[in-house]
């Protein structure tokens, strides 16, 4: 597929050449300017090399074991428990982020308070912090020497905490710019026509925000199911209790079971894809209704 696309973009760069120019004008399908054609070509080459190639390698490796490979990998109760834990926790954390992230974005855009700029900068820190360092910090905070009296280390709660920490910025940062662009005139108009605050939020603001929230949620979920560094220390990796998928994959690799590792990884890719598609559908529905 990628080869076909890149091929097409090379053709679009063609109209600049003397012969191709006239014949091509009769087929109005291609509306790309030469500059845009180069841009698209570059994007596709880059995307193919960096993303499609490794992804297909993973799927190919997993497929080398056939369908039975997937079956046997998922049939292992330890692996299945890890998948369940990871997916449930990622969903929970994504839901939390949808609410809290939107509220934080709102506060940052609409309200004025002391320390706002600082908060705006600090939001990104979980992005920048190496995840292993994040794990260390969280262990210090929620371990047995917890200065705040929360001893959640080595429990499933620890997984929630670590995931919430590293995925928080996604929704805040996707919702924030949309909220900034949002025209308050419309809200004032609605208010002058007698709409209550909840109604304005539900009918005017939320529909504009939903696409941003959905794409933030997709990023947040995808990041959560693949997270390793921040929770590997904090969760304790106990089989069937706090062991997440990425640790299972690591065990497979340590034992030389590369196709099992690839199979499990591609199952997680599929789940991520599924959630992203569902979120996209939700977003389209809401956008149409709004």
């Amino acid at each position: 597929m990628s080869a076909a696309l890149t091929g097409a973009t090379i053709d679009t760069a063609g109209p600049a050449s003397p012969q191709g120019g006239r014949t091509r004008r009769t087929t109005p399908r291609n509306t790309l300017t030469p500059g845009a054609g180069v841009g698209l070509g570059l994007a596709m080459i880059w995307f193919s090399l960096l993303v499609l190639l490794p992804l297909s390698a993973i799927v190919a490796r997993a497929a080398s074991g056939g369908w039975s490979q997937y079956y046997t990998v998922l049939q292992n109760p330890q692996t299945w428990n890890a998948v369940q834990l990871t997916v449930t926790q990622s969903l929970v954390v994504t839901l939390i982020n949808v609410v809290v992230g939107t509220v934080i974005a709102w506060v940052l855009v609409r309200d004025r308070f002391w320390g706002q700029r600082l908060l705006n900068v600090i939001i990104d820190v979980p992005f920048a912090l190496p995840t292993v360092v994040a794990g260390l910090v969280l262990l210090g905070l929620y371990g047995p020497n917890s200065p705040i009296g929360v001893e959640w280390a080595f429990t499933p709660n620890a997984v929630t905490l670590a995931l919430a920490f590293v995925t928080l910025p996604f929704i805040v940062r996707t919702v924030q710019p949309v909220l900034e662009e949002l025209d308050t005139d419309v809200e004032q108009a609605a208010a002058s026509l007698g709409a209550s605050r909840p109604t304005i939020f539900r009918r005017i603001i939320l529909p504009s925000l939903v696409p941003a929230i959905a794409s933030g949620a997709a990023l947040s979920f995808a990041r959560a199911i693949s997270e390793y560094g921040s929770l590997v220390l904090l969760s304790g990796n106990r089989p069937n209790q706090t062991e997440v998928v990425s640790v299972r994959v690591l065990s497979f690799i340590e034992n030389g079971n590369y196709s099992s590792a690839a199979a499990l990884a591609s199952v997680m890719l599929f789940i991520a894809l599924l959630v992203i598609v569902v979120l996209d559908i939700v977003q389209r529905r809401v956008a149409r209704r709004g």
């Binding site: 841009g39 074991g65 330890q78 371990g143 690591l250 690799i253 340590e254 034992n255």
Partner: protein
């Protein structure tokens, strides 16, 4: 404005491409003067090796040699070499990591045919405890008492953690093949384990951070941690397992690599290693004062019973599958893997 940003993006992409092309160009090992030896080792060696490199450069064979070491988790290092990362000398925590290279035809079959049977450093499994040993942990049986919280690296993901579990197994069975007793003891032990961090380093971090009563670790790790100021004690149990870390040269390695390997197991290098808590693998080593050891003047007390992988487990070739086989892709299901799968199934936490 949109067009300008697109141009900027394109420029950035081209720049990144150019950079990545550059980085793949270096990485060849040989310098202009003398020989550069590429050493791939497991993490804990880093501190000790600095001094050993200098000592080797002081010898006739090593005068012109420079070193390009790389350190990391033993399994990762081994897989990297197997997948094409070039190395002249490999020094890993576990024999199976070298076996992987033998299978890939990167290390000769007869790598164990020397005085130390391929072993370059050794240690024993110990209990790291809180300062003053408040729980009074002395024996393996103390680890399975109710309420004692144990931390050990995950034998699934950390190859080196396998020494710890096998030490417990050796204690329970007395080094015999009494599998039922072994299973029972390991099940009890797994019940007391509160965390299985992915690597030895992370396990130590979790412990020094305040989690758990006992950390299963190596004597040299415990000594190094105390040298670095960690506030803890360690106990050498009366019966424990000898940890043996193998080293080998790769098939294309220059003569200097072979000389260095010989030097590694000589008295001078072994004394250097001893200063960092490793037990000598040859006799006649003058052991220095080892700071951080329980008794710096007599740093390596002889345990009452010292089990070995060769005598009590039939060597790693046999033990790796029997105890740690993953049960995936036609591999046998190892005993420890099976017991691990059963822990926590009842939802008790």
């Amino acid at each position: 404005m949109q067009i300008r940003s697109r141009a900027a993006l394109a420029a950035a992409l081209v720049g990144a491409l150019a950079l990545s092309a550059c980085s793949s160009a270096d990485g060849s090992g040989s310098g202009d003067d003398g020989t550069a030896l590429r050493l791939s080792g497991f993490s804990i060696l880093e501190a000790a090796n600095e001094g050993i490199f200098e000592d080797f450069q002081g010898t006739d064979e090593g005068a012109d040699v420079t070193f390009e070491p790389s350190y990391g988790a033993s399994g990762d290092q081994s897989r990297a070499v197997a997948d094409g990362s070039e190395a002249d000398i490999v020094h890993f925590s576990l024999e199976t990591d070298i076996t992987r290279l033998v299978d890939a035809d990167l290390v000769a079959d007869d790598w164990k045919d020397n005085e130390t049977k391929g072993i370059a450093t050794s240690s024993v499994v110990v209990f790291v405890v809180r300062k003053g040993n408040p729980e009074n942990i002395q024996t393996w049986d103390d680890l399975v008492k109710p309420g004692v919280e144990v931390i050990t690296p995950n034998p699934g993901s950390s190859g080196s953690a396998r020494w710890n579990i096998l030490a417990a197994w050796a204690h329970a069975t007395g080094g015999t093949d009494d599998e039922a007793t072994g299973r029972e003891f390991i099940t009890q032990l797994l019940g007391n384990i509160i965390a299985l961090p992915a690597s030895g380093r992370e396990a130590t971090t979790a412990f020094t951070d305040g989690s758990g009563d006992v950390l299963l670790s190596y004597e040299n790790e415990a000594i190094l941690a105390k040298q670095n100021g960690a506030d803890l004690d360690y106990v050498v149990p009366d019966d424990t397992l000898l940890i043996e870390n193998p080293a080998a040269v790769t098939v294309d390695a220059p003569q200097a690599a072979k000389d260095f390997l010989t030097f590694l197991t000589g008295p001078e290098a072994q004394a250097d290693y001893a200063a960092f808590g490793f037990r000598p693998v040859v006799d006649g080593v003058e052991i220095p004062e080892v700071e951080g050891a329980n008794d710096p003047a007599d740093p390596f007390p002889t345990p009452g019973t010292l089990y070995t992988i060769d005598d009590n487990f039939g060597g790693w070739g046999e033990a790796a599958d029997k105890y740690f086989g993953s049960g995936e892709e036609g591999d046998p299901l190892g005993i420890i893997t099976e017991l691990q799968q059963q822990t926590g199934q009842e939802g008790e936490s």
